[in-house]
Amino acid sequence: MQFKKSWIMALTLTSVLALSACGNNGGNKATTNNGGNTPAATNTETSSGAKLSGSVLASGSTALQPLVEQVAEKFMDANAGVDIQVQGGGSGTGLTQVSEKQVDIGNSDVFAEEKLKDAAKAAELVDHQVAVVAIAAVSNPAAGVDSLTKQQLVDIFTGKITNWKEVGGADQAIQIINRPASSGTRATFESFALGTKTEDLKGSIQEDSSGTVKKMIGETPGAIGYLALSYLDDSVKTLNYDGVEPSVDNVVAGKYPVWAYEHMYTNGEPNETVKAFLDYFLTDEVQTGDVIELGYIPASKMQVSRDVAGTVTPK
């Protein structure tokens, strides 16, 4: 009996610690299994006209999550028979789950081809670009710099420039507040602002949430980082890029290059309910309403488009 007890005790302890170690993924797993019976979404009532019903499950990018949640609320108000659930988990999780048909929609900050190593799996996914997010380099207000060129940014993020006075600012050491290597925001910043991948530098700080990044940049002397436009305020100094101000107008006109699409991927062509939901995103009501209200840029307004290789073409 003593042995039995201690054995169970040991197992319980292990399970608790194992759970806490992989809580993020385990949680997602459980919830996707719940909503796994996605064929339910196809039960549309064709008899009573265009009435939609069924359940839709979306997961992935936490950057896109607030928009999808708000639009889903509105969509459900208009279509009483539809139930939409939105989960976070990160772009990688969203892409994995949509490609394994565990969810109907996988939200992502990056093109599926960039994340999924299996090209055949990426080819199965259908891309729906619902919004654009622009990212600006920001510094601590005391750094004393208004604008940085591409080359200066590259030199800072690769560790060649370590003091603000080298780029015309205060005599203050530069402290990089970065995103983790796998972050979609970092990928966007590196591709379109720096044009190169960077290695993590010794002593750099990495934070995942935009709120924490903003707090750190605002409080840390000499800090530099990057944030989505919706997070900018007076606590940090927004830096112009090659003299171009990171404003919505400049992004829309194609003058400011550091932006990325927010994607909502479906596996193959979506069913009627999912399609109606995705179409609703592209209506003027959402694009000029919720999208702008929550700090994103309407995809429909963009005067340029960009493909997965990064080639920008005028629309």
């Binding site: 197992l11 319980t12 194992a18 772009s91 990688g92 190593k117 010794k202 700080i205 990495q206």
Partner: protein, 277 residues
């Protein structure tokens, strides 16, 4: 009853199997060598030729855990002695709720307090940017205080009364009794509390992630940005796709965490056995 036990065992075995099978995937496929994973110091999974050295995280985890235990243990043991030996009446009434309160606060609150209070304090008074190993260890030490204190207090309270009385009868003072009789007798039990606290510190993710800085390097100073296994897992798991070598490398780290948990549990078992004699 026996069904519940059976179910529990099945769940736990499948969970251990799940973590282990994903954790060894990279090693089986030859993507990463075990030695490279355990002792490699270069972590750059997104590079063109990726390298998956997890040593900075393994050492970071051990460093903050040991530091937290070093800071928290003396405080906890003193608090437990105060509650049980010195002022058992109002001391206990005052400290008990405080300790229960401390253990009930969510990690994210500790992390935020760390970020808002400890980090600026360290930045202003010591070299570095405040964020780093020292901030992580300080936050963790507060988080494991309740664990060590309550286990130590239980151990002290369950000490046979006649041991103390004999000591006093021999003319020993209170300090002599505490340092020569009570502490040596309850040492294994107190160590159990310390190990349990360390297990908690080793597995804690959110609060540490917020204040430690997460740069993938072995720190050379306490005020330098570093990473722990848990912080890297939580930062990377959602952004990587299942089955990719990078994701599997994160599962390998989860496996290391799980194995360390086994070690902590074994340690506690051994200490308890010693305690009984």
């Amino acid at each position: 009853m026996s069904f519940c036990v059976l179910l529990l065992i099945v769940i736990i075995i499948s969970m251990v199997y799940f973590v282990a099978s994903k954790g060894v995937a990279n090693f089986v496929s030859g993507e990463v060598k075990v030695s490279e994973f355990l002792f490699g110091t270069k972590w750059s999974p997104e590079a063109d030729t990726p390298s998956y050295g997890a040593f900075p995280f393994i050492s970071g985890s051990f460093l903050v855990t040991l530091l937290a235990a070093l800071i928290a243990s003396p405080l906890s043991i003193c608090a437990a002695l105060f509650m049980t030996e010195i002022v058992p009446g109002w001391g206990k009434k005052l400290l008990q709720p405080v300790i229960e309160l401390l253990s009930g606060i969510p990690s994210v609150v500790y992390g935020f307090v760390g970020l808002s209070v400890i980090v600026p304090f360290l930045r202003d008074t010591l070299p570095g940017q405040g964020i780093g190993v020292a901030a992580g260890a300080l936050v963790l030490s507060v988080m494991i205080l309740p664990t060590i204190t309550s286990v130590a207090a239980d151990a002290l309270a369950s000490l046979p009364q006649n041991l103390k009385e004999s000591s006093f009868a021999l003319g020993a003072t209170r300090w002599q009794t505490i340092s020569r009789v009570i502490l040596p007798t309850t040492f294994p039990a107190i160590m159990t509390g310390v190990v349990l606290g360390m297990a908690r510190a080793f597995g804690e993710a959110l609060a540490v992630q917020m204040v430690i800085g997460n740069a993938p390097f072995v720190p050379h100073s306490l005020f330098e940005s570093a990473s722990t296994l848990t912080s890297v897992i939580t930062l990377g798991m959602g952004n990587t796709t299942m089955g990719s070598p990078q994701n599997n490398a994160l599962w390998s780290m989860a496996l290391v965490l799980m194995l360390m948990t086994f070690v902590f549990v074994l340690l506690v078992r051994m200490l308890e056995r010693r305690n009984k004699i």
